[in-house]
Symmetry: C2
Subunit: 202 residues, 2 copies
C-alpha cells in the first residue's frame, strides 16, 4: 500500500519523520509518495503570521526539548537552527516538481540535514545546489526547471490540496481517507496502510 | 518513582490518558500524583477565548477523528460531548482539594466517563455528586468542602503552578525536570521516571 507523506522543510517534527519514513514504510511493505507543501499559507489562513512555536513561547520551548529527546532516541543529530522557521521555497519547488524522481527521497533528507544538522540557510540556492550535488544531480538544470512558472504553480496547487485534505500541520500522513498528524503518528499510519484495525472485542 | 499527571476535565486527550495512567504507571513501579488544573486561564493568557479545537476547525476535525481511533484502540467508549469544552470547575475543586484521597483516581475517571462516555454536564453539582457516590463518598460533605474559599484558592494556585512549570496543554506529565505533553507521551514519560535514557551510541 501507498502512503502520502506531507512535509514542509521548515517544520521541526517533519525532520525526524522525513529521516525515517522511507525505511519504516519499506519494513512494512509500503511505499511513500512524497508530498511537499508550504505551511505559511495554511498558517496565514488561521490568522498566524509566524510559526505557532514562536507565537506561543511555552509551546515553543516544549517543542525544542521534545525534539531533542526524539532525535536522541532516533540517534539523529540536532543543531537548533539559528533562524526558525526557515523558508524552503526553492527546495519545495524542486521537491514538488521532481516528486517521482529516484533521487528525491535522498534530496529531501539532505535538505533536512542542512536545516537541522548543519544550520544552513536552506532558502539559499547554494544550499539547495549542495543538496542536489550530494544526491548526484546537476543543480543548475534542476533549479532552472523548478523555477519555471508551471513548477511554481504546481507547488501552489499542492499546498491547496493539503488544505483541502484537512491538513493543518506537518508532517501529516494520508492513508486512504485517514489523516495522521505528527512524527508520533507514523507507526499508526503505517498500521492503517495494512488495513484498518479490527473492531475491538469488549 | 513518582510522576505528576496534570489534567483538565474538559480536555479530550486527557480522557484516554486519565483512564490508563494509573495502571500504566503501576506496571512500571511508578506512582501517580494527580494534578488537576484549568486550561481556560492558560488559553486566555495566549489570547484564546475558546478551545483551539474550536478556534481552528481543521485541527478540531482532526482531533475528534484521532481521539476516536485512540479510544477504539484502547477499547474506551467515546460519545462526542454535545458541549465542548465543558467546564469542570466544581469537579476540579474537588480533585484539587482531595488530591491525596484514596478514592480520587476513581473519581477522576468517573468524571471523564460522565463527560466522554455519557455526555453529561460535568459542571452540574448533580453530576459531580453522582461521580462521588460511585466511588463511595458522601457528596454533600465533599462538595461543601470543595467550595470553601481556601479550596477555590488552592485550584487557582495549582493552575498558576502549571503555567510556571511551562505547561500549556493537557494532559501533561512532569517527571523531575522533564515535561511531556499529550496522551501519546505517557509511555515516554514513564520510561523517564525509571531514569533518563542512556546516551546513544553512534
Amino acid at each position: 500500500m501507498n502512503i502520502q507523506f506531507w512535509f514542509e522543510f521548515g517544520s521541526t517534527y517533519s525532520y525526524p519523520a522525513a529521516m525515517r519514513v522511507e525505511a519504516l514504510a519499506a519494513s512494512q511493505g509500503a511505499t511513500v509518495a512524497w508530498r511537499v507543501f508550504l505551511l505559511g499559507p495554511l498558517f496565514r489562513a488561521q490568522g498566524w503570521n509566524d510559526s505557532p512555536f514562536n507565537l506561543y513561547p511555552a509551546k515553543g520551548q516544549y517543542m525544542w526539548r521534545d525534539l531533542e529527546r526524539i532525535c536522541q532516541r532516533l540517534q539523529l543529530t540536532l543543531k537548533r537552527p539559528s533562524v526558525f522557521p526557515r523558508t524552503g521555497l526553492l527546495a519545495s519547488r524542486v521537491a514538488c516538481q521532481f516528486s517521482e524522481a529516484a533521487w528525491l527521497p535522498g534530496f529531501v533528507r539532505e535538505v533536512y540535514r542542512a536545516n537541522f544538522e548543519d544550520d544552513l540557510d536552506i532558502a539559499a540556492p547554494s544550499t539547495v545546489a549542495r543538496c542536489l550535488v550530494r544526491v548526484g544531480q546537476n543543480p543548475a538544470e534542476i533549479i532552472s526547471a523548478a523555477q519555471l512558472p508551471a513548477a511554481k504553480e504546481q507547488l501552489r496547487a499542492q499546498t491547496q490540496e493539503a488544505a483541502r485534505r484537512g491538513i493543518f500541520g506537518a508532517p501529516s500522513v494520508v492513508v486512504g481517507r485517514e489523516l495522521f498528524w505528527g512524527n508520533d503518528r507514523l507507526e499508526e499510519a503505517l498500521s492503517w496502510s495494512a488495513g484498518p484495525p479490527a473492531p475491538p472485542r469488549r
